[in-house]
Amino acid sequence: MGYLASDMTARGTGTATASIRVRLFARYAELVGRTEAAVSVALPATVGDVLRRLRDEVPAARALPERPLAALNLRQVKLDARVEDGDEVALLPPIAGG
């Protein structure tokens, strides 16, 4: 949901881009072989767009689940949440605290 729309918008305008810091934790960091990545997306864009861009740029990220738990600026969000330049997106393995 929202992916296609934002893609089309991005293709339509294609000017403003956002630099997003992507963070990976625990098993996801092991799977991808890194704990963070910098990704640029054309705005408007969603967390889902960031995730797809990550998979494009970091092939090991294709091992991540299709729809991982995600956080945007320290808050859990759905994948259709909008990102802005300078945001931090985190991909969270199943939470196992306590």
Binding site: R23, F25, A26, R27, E30, A71, L74, R75, Q76, A90, L92, P93, P94, I95, A96, G97, G98
Partner: protein, 142 residues
């Protein structure tokens, strides 16, 4: 980083943070690294976290609890790093005027921790194997 620590947890210190003469009931929960019949020789668990989010999320969680139990005082500490089995990874202390509130708020906090605080654990076994714990599968603990 008030909610996270790498040191052993002190129940006494946590209780002291919440207790006061007007609060007659205190409930404490300790989650400890388990090595029981369900585990297979777990010697320790390595805890890691999205630390900045843990701090932010604990703040929101305690604000939620404070909205539900306004007279309760709550303190919580989550330990990170390698924790040997038998030692506590989380301690929650809730003091309230009456015991029902203390029990309910304490239970609420630990349930919410397990739902929303971004912490992960990797079990270290006596045979040298390591496994990430996925709570959607076999729970390793508590």
């Amino acid at each position: 980083m008030p909610y996270l620590t790498r040191d052993p947890l002190s129940v006494e210190r946590l209780v002291a943070e919440v207790s006061a003469p007007e609060r007659g009931g205190t409930c404490v929960f300790l989650g400890t690294v388990r090595n029981g019949p369900e585990e297979q020789g777990v010697t320790a668990i390595e805890y890691s976290a999205y630390e900045a989010m843990v701090e932010a999320e604990f703040g929101r969680l305690l604000a939620d609890a404070g909205g539900r139990w306004p007279q309760a005082r709550i303190a919580v500490r989550h330990r990170l790093g390698t924790i040997p089995s038998g030692e506590a990874s989380i301690a929650i202390a809730v003091a309230a005027p009456h015991r029902a509130e203390a029990f309910e708020a304490c239970r609420f906090v630990i349930e919410e921790v397990k739902r929303r605080i971004p912490v992960w654990k990797k079990e270290l076994r006596v045979d040298g194997t390591e496994t990430w714990v996925d709570p959607s599968g076999r729970p390793s603990h508590v």
